[in-house]
């Protein structure tokens, strides 16, 4: 790992977030890609692939629920952990810090809406 690289490097296939675990942080991808997976009938289904600059695990910042999916590194990936406490303290002082998180969540809701429309249209 480069001595100036911030965050933590995950090897190909290494689990970053595990479905069902309790989380108190989110991650920002600094380098590389990760895949988001859910288990359906004993089989893993890939929901999406995320790349540099994207967030994952952001739901843990706002709700105290278990992780909703498993995230694994696709090749070598470097991620930075953002603590819930630190981020919420910052957002309390500067609510505009949440803009990018809201944008990400909004984009994902739009994506899910499209998926629902496709599924309903297919019936």
């Amino acid at each position: 790992m480069d001595s100036g690289a911030l965050g933590k490097v995950y090897d190909d296939g290494e689990v970053i977030v595990k479905h069902g675990d309790v989380g108190d942080s989110m991650y920002v991808i600094q380098e590389g890609e990760v895949e988001v997976l859910v288990e359906e009938g004993g089989k893993e289904v890939r929901l999406r692939v995320l790349g540099e600059g994207e967030f994952l695990g952001e739901m843990a910042i706002f709700e105290r629920e278990v992780r909703s999916a498993t995230v694994r590194a696709l090749g070598k990936a470097r991620l930075l952990t953002v603590d819930r406490k630190n981020l919420l303290r910052r957002i309390h002082e500067d609510p505009s810090l949440a803009f990018r998180l809201l944008e990400t969540m909004s984009r994902r809701i739009r994506g899910l809406t499209n998926e629902v429309v496709k599924l309903k249209g297919g019936k």
Binding site: G4, L6, G7, S25, T81, R90, L101
Partner: protein, 468 residues
Amino acid sequence: MSSKADKSSSDWATALRSEKGPDALKLDDGSRVAVIGCGPAGSFFSYFLLDMAERMGIDLRVDVFESRDFSRPAPLGCNMCGGIVSESLVQALAAEGVSLPPTVVQRGIDSYMLHMDVGSVSIETPVKEMRIGAVYRGSGPRGVEETDWMSFDGHLQGLVLKKGAKLKHGRVDEIALKGGKFQVKLKGGQPETYDLVAVAVGINSATLKLFEGMSLGYEPPRGTKTFIREYYLGREAVGKILGSSMHVFLLDIPRLEFAAIIPKGDYMTLCLLGQDIDNKLVESFMNSPEVERCLSPEWSSSEGACQCSPRISVKGARRPFADRLVFIGDCGVTRLYKDGIGAAYRTAKAAATTAVLQGVSAADFERHYWPVCRTIENDNAIGRLSFVATRQIQKRRFARRAVFRMTVAEQKEDGHRRRMSMVLWDMFTGSAPYREVFLRMMRPGFWGRLIWNIVVSLLSPGRATSKR
């Protein structure tokens, strides 16, 4: 579809901003903003001003004035600072979408090593991850040979120019207030009128003198001298001697309050805080057994490649704003001793959001920008108390032994039970507000363990040890 969304967002912005009436001092399409100084405060201000204006559908013209060339090593391109980007700032910037690439970060820091006469102990970052960045504000010390990395200030300046700001290279030598607006003149140029001027210079900058006699109510911050020296060791030796740790020294040397050695690329940076730091004090520190224990056997005494004695702010400015004018970063209010870059980010962003969302009158800044400055100032007051307590520990061997014993014992425990380690971590890395550190120090569990360790230390004085 998209134009409809843009229109409704713009309508909302107009509605929000027109609440103040047509005569309010505010930024509109085509408004001109001057940012004097393009260090972290100036860059963060410009970046978030343009970002926020874009969200609100306002087209601003931003000029950034900077006399330094960050691509040049030594004083010509350096803003003279220890160069630590704190854990909390690294995380906030990541959430903002501002990443610090490995070409900008000289070394990721994942732990710190506390050195005292009674021993040395390594304390790891709570998530065992590189979340503190050691950076060069300029392009490195005098005589630097490496060219494969970038200056931190230069990186931020690049982001700002990419956002649409224009760089005006040179020294500002005249500022005048005419018709309720400020005029800024670059040396050898013509004065230009701006709707808002953001001043983001250091506390010793001659630019601050240009505002004297304007009856703005602004009084610059009070400062104290620090000492920074760079030593060339070579990348391999830096890794071998210092690893990815920041080395913090709590020593009983008169006039010395705090000392740190930071690994950076081919160099190590020495930072000293104290009263009247002179060469004698620096040599006394470098020749101390604790420093020798930290650096040997690889280290052989060498002359520093570059050194400076910049002043840092210890008491914030009075009234750092006026109509169409705001002082941010070091020349406004900053954090005591630690995380100056983090304070620059906080004040710059508060000023930028105020300017775009609220307005640029003194009343707007007083209502929406000043509270952030006041929070930092109030926290500094608690920080001063905490440093008084640290000085008492520095002076008493039994107290140093107790802190050392407690910290060493905690390294075998879970994160939340590492009470002293977390206090020291947040205190020395600037990762949490001083208030939070102070409250953690007030917990009964902390005191129970500390008193127990003080008693043991008084009963069994021991020899110095090193726990990595």
